[in-house]
Symmetry: C2
Subunit: 77 residues, 2 copies
DNA sequence: GAGAATTTGTACGTATGTATG
DNA sequence: ACATACATACGTACAAATTCT
C-alpha cells in the first residue's frame, strides 16, 4: 500500500507495487492491469498519481498502454 | 507561439519552441531558462504544460532543473 | 541569522476530448 | 447509443529549496 507519510513520491511507490506484482506473476505477459479508476480506488491516490506510475512502467518497457483500453504487461522486453 | 487548435499536445509544442531557442543560441550553455511562472504568462498555458515541456527537455538531456532555482541549459551533452 | 519572496516539487480535483467495448 | 477507459489541459493547495531583504 502506498504510504502518504513516506517521503517517496506516490507515483514511484505505486510503480514499485505494480512492478513487484508483475514480477511475481500476478499479472502475466499480455494481461491487462487494472483500470486507472480501479487503481485510484484500490490505492487511495489520485488519477494523476496512477498515470505517472504507469508512465514510469512504460518507460521501463514493462507495460504498454492503449487509449480506450487498458495498460497491459509487455510481451517483449 | 503554442497553438491550441494544433492537435499536437501543448507540452510538445512548448518543448519545440524552447529547444529551437536553445539551438539558436538565445539561451547559452549554463544559462537559466525563464521561470515556470514566466513561461506560463508568456505562452498562455498552464503550469502543468510548462512542467511537462521541461520534462521532455530534461529527458533529451538539453536542460537540468534545480528545485528552488531554475532550469538551465545543460553544459554537457 | 531571521523572515519574506521566489521557484520548483508533489498531489489533488475538475472538465473535456478521443478511442474502445 | 451508451458506458468504459485513456489523453490532454486547467486550476488549486501546500511542501521544499533557494534567493533576496
Amino acid at each position: 500500500m502506498v504510504d502518504h507519510l513516506d517521503p517517496t513520491p506516490l507515483p514511484r511507490q505505486l510503480a514499485s507495487i505494480l512492478r513487484a506484482a508483475i514480477e511475481e506473476g500476478e499479472y502475466q505477459r499480455g494481461d491487462p492491469l487494472p483500470s486507472e479508476s480501479t487503481l485510484v480506488q484500490e490505492h487511495g491516490v489520485s488519477r494523476g498519481v496512477v498515470r505517472q506510475a504507469m508512465e514510469i512502467l512504460r518507460y521501463e518497457g514493462l507495460v504498454v498502454t492503449i487509449q480506450g483500453r487498458r495498460s497491459y504487461v509487455a510481451r517483449t522486453r
